[in-house]
């Protein structure tokens, strides 16, 4: 790790002001990616602005037909939340499936989606549920938020405050874990909204989370595991590496979608 300056602002305004001022500064949430990258000397921020002291960024609350989760809320807290568990159990289970105990005790919702790792779980939940990302400047629909590999709509100095998840009719998440890292080799989040509309978000494909129009169409016609499993996706656009070929990833999307639907149907 290279040396850096550490800051711990007490509120959001101070944090955004600091980040605006510091050229090579980085916001630190749970640090589950950034600290590891720094230890490997792959990241070299001049300054770290630790958001952990900003009370307004943490917490889970109901807001009408939505659940609003603060950006600094830890995975373990989402997994254990009675509110989330009752109204969007698939999201609670997703949070409880991230990494290991230590990761869940430190990692945060905002940190995960701001990083937008192509194999992370939360982007699938946020996109699958059609959530809204509330930042220090604006509200961004999930469909507009994830813009590519490790890329989001966030502008320099813009911080995520919270994410608002509309409560669906039903939802489910199924993950096929990479045998080594246990990140999602493929993770599929399926959601049937209160309106009946179906959203399907896929993570682990290689180029960032995306929605599958084929699966959404099939599941809109019949929200059953068999309908999901019957969809054969083209391998085009899926990445291949030593853990999985594009064909295997494409195949796993259908399998995991079927299992996610089964989970959603209870």
């Amino acid at each position: 790790m290279y040396p850096f300056q550490y800051h711990r602002p007490a509120n959001l305004a101070e944090a955004t002001a600091l980040l605006g001022k510091l050229g090579e500064g980085k916001a630190l949430a749970g640090g589950q990616t950034l600290i590891a990258a720094m230890k490997l000397r792959l990241a070299q921020p001049s300054d770290l602005v630790d958001l952990g002291g900003i009370a307004e960024l943490s917490g889970i609350r109901a807001d009408g037909d939505a659940i609003v989760i603060g950006a600094l809320t830890r995975h373990a807290d989402v997994a254990a939340s009675a509110e989330v568990g009752k109204r969007i159990p698939a999201l609670a289970r997703l949070a409880g499936s991230i990494g290991d105990r230590q990761v869940r005790a430190a990692g945060t919702l905002g940190g995960s989606i701001a990083n937008n790792d192509p194999a992370a779980d939360y982007p699938a939940g946020v996109l699958g549920l059609g959530a809204t990302v509330v930042t220090s400047r604006r509200s961004i629909a999930a469909d507009d938020f994830f813009s590519g590999l490790y890329e989001t709509a966030l502008e320099p100095g813009e911080l995520i405050k919270s994410v608002s998840f509309p409560v669906p009719q039903r939802a489910g998440y199924a993950k096929f874990a990479n045998p080594a890292s246990r990140f999602a080799l493929i993770g599929v989040f399926v959601c049937q909204e209160k309106s009946g509309a179906v959203r399907v978000a896929v993570t682990g494909g290689g180029n960032g989370v995306f929605r599958s129009a084929e699966l959404e169409k099939a599941l809109a016609a019949s929200f059953t595991p068999a309908a999901a499993a019957a969809v054969k996706l083209s391998a085009d656009g899926f990445s291949g590496d030593l853990h999985a070929s594009p064909e295997y990833r494409a195949h796993l999307v259908s399998v995991m979608a079927g299992r996610a639907v089964a989970a959603a149907l209870g």
Binding site: P179, F183, L242, S245, V255
Partner: protein
């Protein structure tokens, strides 16, 4: 024996060492800090193969805290030698193997990613690391020879000039003509081609060393995470640095796992020992985990074509094996012997195959050196034999257990056609026990039940044998070993009767402090608590060969037993004096020296006291003191063997293989501590199942970059990848050591990979799948299912 004491032989005594390990009181190399200590950071090659045109260290030398920087040129100027290989292999034409130089720091060329190019010594580790980034190396990147299967083909780049075809040796073993003749007459031939996947050892404690030079004593002290400190010292002083041995003390304190990877003399500890005098400061080096991936010696990595000839009844007639073994970029300490002496000699397995021939090509590649890793050659041999047997059974429609029974060796001693003589064993006993415990009879019902859930179940067998208790020195010497393989033990009885054992064996997880104490307590009839075991310090222990090859109890324990015999023999003479009897009338029983047939006796402690306070003592014929040393060189290897049965369940939609049952019935001879043996089997099984399903070191075939350089890509087995093991022991005592023990440290890793793979194939056979590579990852299994269905 026969002393009926608590925590004697056969008791599952709790491990003496666990108190300190579990409460953070262990003393590992990185815990050693010496006043004035500096830190070393090694600059490593980012290229698999590159000429080094120039190294500019000026900016680095001017960086804060830098004490010194050394490159290969500095070592050459100082006439420091390279690392030696401890085993000479002679090829099929009678020529010695090619032994290219193995410089401590690259000289002229870097030959694998992670090869040491320079060392920076600084006041802190971070300063050393920062400065290392400032060293400018002008590399001319060269094409790399990476894959063992292709590195010997024409047109491949040569790793070393002296081996233009990258062949270190072509070594043959067995009667080729007899084998060829048997094949010509065979009713059936089973042929397999497979890779034995390359593994990275991953001890929990990374390699580490602290080197110190004392000007006042003109002597060195090296603390190092190592499995055999005397061997380390001998190799370093006599073969590399040209130092007198008595001026170097090597201490291997608590060591957090080795699995073979800490047997070897490595460049890093050698460089800092040399440099400690140059800079006149102590130097510490502790590997980062990413360095462990790149620069620890790896294991396995064979490409093999194996054939088994059978008669119409499934009796084995002959076996023929051709293996290309990856040696990596340089010959590590025992690299040459692992795929030859420790591999081909085991190809008889548990079977009376009359003729066997193996030809092994040792291959240099631009990858990290490959050397012994838990099992060392014997897992590779077992995989070859047991996969052939399972495949032959499948091809010929013979039951998996039945084909093995038809071919078991049943009378002992048995001389194999590959040079070993098995002293004892009962292979039917372990197979029968394993089948009973695994409930083989109930398997068809479990398979049907799984099928209803859409899952495929399979059962796989492995009847392994290993040669342990390394080794009869004369046999090893005739086969090319450049060292002896005896062991030493010293029993120092203190005046009040407590005992310190000094052993040349080294414990890095095996629990010797407990097991050896049990042996001594039993033999002397004294409390287990009164026995301490000292190991790992050349300044304290007699010259011994260390711990590897499941040898410690069979060889080191026997040395201890011999020293105990000497102690008791002397004690008998002292007792005879005290009891005013003839030496020949004294017997030693239950911790007392007795005049046979009388009630006159004297306790062991009283005899010890008399030896050190010799007021009433036969000084005219005996020296005072009670401190005896023995060296033991075994007359044969020991032959642990057993039967493993693995049951898997496969999800055909994803290719995921779940090990749902694993039974191991092992014959380790007599067992001193069943709990420790069970733990050793569990650890070995985790590594063997890891090899079969998860672990693989993968280099990019073109660039030679290590693609599995972290736990993000190298899949270590986790607890939830493994079932609850069912383990059992059957006993045929070893006939040639006094404890009747054989060794248990490697068996799990040796026996399990073919059991797992055969179970996977058994599960998939109804789809037409006949082969499966290791590791059987979900991706690979799914692909096999797709290909079979296509």
């Amino acid at each position: 024996m026969g002393a009926n004491i608590a925590n004697g032989i056969g008791a599952s005594a709790l491990r003496k060492e666990d108190q300190r390990f579990l409460t953070g009181a262990g003393n590992y190399t990185d815990d050693i800090n010496i006043p004035g200590q500096t830190y070393a950071c090694f600059l490593r090659s980012p290229h698999a193969h590159a000429a080094i045109r120039k190294i500019d260290t000026r900016a680095a030398a001017a960086a804060p805290g830098v004490v010194a920087i050394f490159t290969g040129e500095d070592l050459a100027e100082a006439k420091v030698g390279g690392l030696p290989c401890g085993w000479l292999i002679t090829d099929v034409n009678g020529q010695p193997m090619k032994e290219p130089p193995h410089p401590l720091l690259a000289q002229g060329k870097a030959r694998h990613v992670g090869d040491q190019v320079a060392v920076v010594i600084a006041e802190t580790y971070l300063q050393a690391k920062d400065a290392a980034e400032l060293i400018e190396v002008d590399y001319e990147v060269l094409d790399a020879a990476v894959d063992v299967a292709t590195a010997t083909q024409p047109g491949q780049p040569a790793v070393h000039d002296i081996a233009p075809d990258n062949v270190c040796y072509v070594w043959g073993h067995g009667d080729k003509a007899a084998v060829d003749k048997a094949f010509a007459a065979a009713a059936h031939v089973t042929t397999l081609e497979f890779r034995n996947n390359r593994l990275i050892p991953n001890a929990i404690e990374p390699r580490a060393a602290v080197a110190q030079y004392s000007r006042s004593e003109d002597a060195y002290t090296l603390h190092v995470a190592n499995q055999n400190p005397h061997v380390e010292r001998l190799l370093m002083t006599a073969f590399v640095l040209g130092l007198p041995e008595h001026k170097v003390r090597v201490i291997a304190p608590d060591v957090g796992g080795g699995f073979g990877s800490k047997i070897f003399l490595y460049a890093e500890e050698t460089v800092i020992t040399w440099a400690a005098k140059r800079v006149n400061r102590p130097i510490k080096w502790t590997a980062e985990r990413s360095e462990s991936f790149l620069a620890d010696a790896h294991g396995r990595d064979h490409a093999t074509r194996a054939e088994l000839a059978l008669d119409k009844d499934g009796k084995f007639l002959a076996m023929r094996v051709h293996t290309k073994a990856n040696l990596g970029a340089y010959l590590s300490t025992f690299a040459s012997s692992v795929p030859t002496i420790l591999y081909a000699t085991l190809l008889a397995g548990q079977y009376a195959t009359p003729a066997i021939y193996a030809e092994v090509t040792g291959v240099f590649t631009n990858t990290a050196p490959v050397d012994a890793y838990r099992g060392a050659g014997r897992p590779e041999a077992t995989f070859t034999v047991e996969r052939l047997v399972s495949a032959a059974a499948l091809e010929m429609g013979i039951d998996q257990a039945e084909i093995r029974r038809r071919n078991f060796i049943t009378s002992f001693p048995y001389a194999t056609p590959v040079g070993l003589t098995y002293d004892t064993g009962n292979y039917e006993a372990t197979l029968a026990a394993a089948m009973k415990i695994a409930d083989v009879a109930g398997f068809p019902a479990r398979r049907e039940e799984a099928k209803k859930r859409g899952k495929l179940r399979g059962l796989g067998y492995s009847c392994y044998i290993e040669a342990c208790g390394l080794a009869p020195s004369n046999v090893a010497g005739a086969l090319g070993a450049r060292a002896g393989l005896f062991e030493a033990g010293e029993i120092r009885v203190h005046p009040t009767g407590s005992v310190t054992v000094f052993t040349g064996s080294h414990s890095h997880g095996q629990g010797h402090e407990t097991t050896f104490a049990q042996v001594v307590a039993e033999r002397l009839g004294i409390p287990f608590e009164n026995v301490d075991v000292v190991h790992g310090d050349t300044g304290r222990i007699p010259f011994g060969m260390g711990t590897y090859g499941s040898r410690s109890l069979a060889v080191g324990g026997t040395a201890i037993m011999k020293a105990l015999d000497k102690v008791i023999d002397k004690g008998r003479k002292i007792a005879a004096h005290l009891l005013e009897a003839a030496d020949s009338d004294i017997v030693f029983e239950d911790g007392n020296f007795k005049v046979a047939g009388t009630d006159k006796q004297v306790a062991f402690g009283q005899v010890a006291f008399s030896a050190y306070v010799p007021h009433n003592y036969p000084l005219d014929r005996l020296e005072p003191g009670l401190d005896e040393t023995a060296f033991y060189d075994p007359t044969n290897f020991t032959y642990p063997a057993g039967s493993h049965i693995c049951e898997v369940e496969i999800d055909p939609e994803t290719g995921v293989v779940r090990v749902v049952g694993y039974t191991a019935s092992d014959d380790f001879g007599n067992v001193i501590n069943p709990m420790i043996v069970e733990g050793q089997v569990h650890g070995g099984l985790a590594q063997g199942i890891g090899q079969a399903l998860l672990e693989q070191a993968v280099y990019d075939p073109d660039s030679g970059q290590l693609l599995t350089g972290s736990y993000g890509d190298y899949a270590m087995p986790r607890a939830d990848d493994l079932p609850n093991f069912k383990v059992d022991t059957q006993v045929t005592p070893c006939t040639h050591n006094p404890l009747g023990v054989k060794g248990c440290g490697e068996a799990g890793a040796i026996g399990s990979p073919p059991a797992v793979i055969s179970a996977v194939i058994d599960a998939l056979k109804e789809l037409g799948v006949r082969d499966m590579a290791m590791p059987a990852t979900p991706h690979r299994v799914w692909q096999a299912i797709q290909s079979a269905r296509a």
